[in-house]
Amino acid sequence: MSGATPPAGDSDLVLVERAVAGDQRAFELLVLKYERRIQRLIARMVRDVDLVEDIAQETFIRAYRALPKFRGDAQFYTWLYRIAVNTAKKTLMDFKRDPTVAEAALRSGDDDDETYRGETEPISHETPDTVLAAKQISSVVNMAMEALPEDLRQAVTLREIEGLSYEEIAEAMDCPIGTVRSRIFRAREAISAKVKPLLENQSGKRW
């Protein structure tokens, strides 16, 4: 499907190839792109908040070392995901902790279910502060979207949510590709302008 991939398609491969060729800046962009998602993933498996970040760091180091072996036949994030999961499991085992991935606690207390194994507590790092922060950010993004002129909103929606390529969006919106690129950029800038202040206020806080 020519370019009809959701975000995190060809751009990753471009960055990976540059990184392997020695462009560390390209690797940094990959790190920045996936840092949050990887930390979120690890946080579901690991209780200790500091350990989460350590494992995330370790994940990216391992990814960096293994980068020459990454083949374009799978998505970069999936490859990274596996490294994160393996790194987390190894670390937990090194610390002799329970390596099982956290599941919802389901001790129903019913006799019939005694044969069913209980599983460990889910791990939540959420605090009222972080939940509030996340709500605020999300709400600002959505409001900023609503406030966009129709053509900008449509362009960014087709890209981010429907995963259309610029070419496909140009077809759908009946405009040149250059216009698509510009609209998406202007939409992002407009939303960023409102979101960035929130992020700066919370620098240092992790969740």
Partner: protein
């Protein structure tokens, strides 16, 4: 995340088709779970109908991960619907890059590496609602439903429902059903000991996403640059094909039967006979025995899916299903040739 932590709690089970209800007292501690009493008392039919309807009536998009002890796979998925039309796009994120579109019963798979677009017509098997209305409703006979608590998955609050089998011929399930819509957002398949065989879950999800049916349909038709292949299928009648089950496997009803081409361009010679108990399905694939292709009898397990391969004189059976191996063996034992 609030959980049912202690105390005995039971759900009122209403068995469809029976007049009497068994209601067990709910003795859960008041603090734990703020769900209204009516949620606790949904019958298995009600839970399943909600889940089934949500998957058909809601647009959604997300990233999906299936994992088991030895396997991890993920995909990005878009789903849109309009009236009776369903359309879905799935981009595999693991394995060779492929994109599968399904629109009602038409399936097109774009294989990116070989640049092949494979087209198939799968029988529309929206038969679940019928199961609930039939006189001998199997689901409640063979499974019970119990709400265990609630949890948050991919940003959504979900009810956790345990679907427990009443015999050893099927697996159990823990289902995370999104509170508002009922959409299944996480599913664990449990073996006879309650151990998780396989888990499928959204890691990212947007329900009621602005995914448009027409834009997905447009993508589905865009085969430029791809060589198209057609896998021919025909509706078939097992009896006419010369097959029958000497005795039914409890709970499992014959759902459909088709003949498929073993490879694109070949005539349809493999019979696929599908059974279901409402939650689990079993496919019996029967084809003429071919010594070159059919090399190894035996059992293969992948996550929740078990397969059994066996030769019987001139025929080769592959039984596949999300069921214990014993169930596949029952099917294999019961499958009979009714003519030469």
């Amino acid at each position: 995340m609030s959980m049912l932590s202690s105390g005995r709690a039971a759900v009122a089970v209403v068995s469809l088709g029976l007049a009497a209800c068994t209601v067990l007292a709910q003795v859960a501690p008041a603090t734990v779970d703020a769900a209204p009493a009516v949620v606790e008392q949904r019958s298995i039919g009600e839970w399943l109908t909600r889940m089934h309807d949500a998957s058909r009536k809601r647009a959604y998009t997300g990233t999906f991960v299936v994992s088991s002890e030895a396997m991890l796979a993920s995909a990005r998925i878009w789903h849109a619907c309009e009236g009776e039309q369903q359309i879905e796009r799935v981009d595999a994120l693991t394995g060779p890059p492929r994109t599968t579109f399904r629109r009602n019963d038409h399936v097109v798979t774009f294989l990116q590496d070989s640049k092949v677009a494979r087209m198939e017509k799968r029988e529309a098997l929206g038969l679940f609602p019928n199961l609930l209305q039939a006189a001998d409703t199997s689901i409640a006979e063979f499974y019970s439903a119990k709400r265990l608590g609630q949890d948050r998955v991919a940003g959504f609050e979900a009810d956790i429902v345990l679907l427990k089998p009443k015999d050893k011929l099927r697996f159990g399930y823990r289902v995370w059903s999104e509170k508002k819509s009922g959409l299944v957002i996480k599913l664990q398949t449990l073996d006879v000991d309650g151990k998780v065989l396989e888990q499928a879950a959204f890691s990212e999800l947007q329900i009621d996403a602005p995914v448009r049916l027409d834009s997905l349909a447009r993508m589905m038709n865009k085969t430029t640059g791809y060589r198209t292949e057609r896998v021919e299928t025909l509706v078939a009648d097992p009896a006419a094909e010369g097959w029958a089950l000497s005795e039914p496997v409890p709970g499992f009803r014959s759902m459909s039967c088709i003949k498929r081409a073993p490879q694109p361009g070949m005539p349809p010679s493999t019979m696929q006979w599908v059974f279901s108990d409402g939650l689990a399905s079993v496919s019996l694939f029967v084809e003429p025995y071919d010594a070159q292709r059919h090399l190894k009898e035996g059992l293969v397990g992948m996550g929740a899916t078990q397969s059994l391969m066996r030769r019987s004189e001139d025929w080769w059976l592959t039984a596949v299903g999300e069921v214990p191996v014993a169930t596949l063996k029952s099917f294999a034992a019961a499958l009979q040739r009714t003519r030469k």
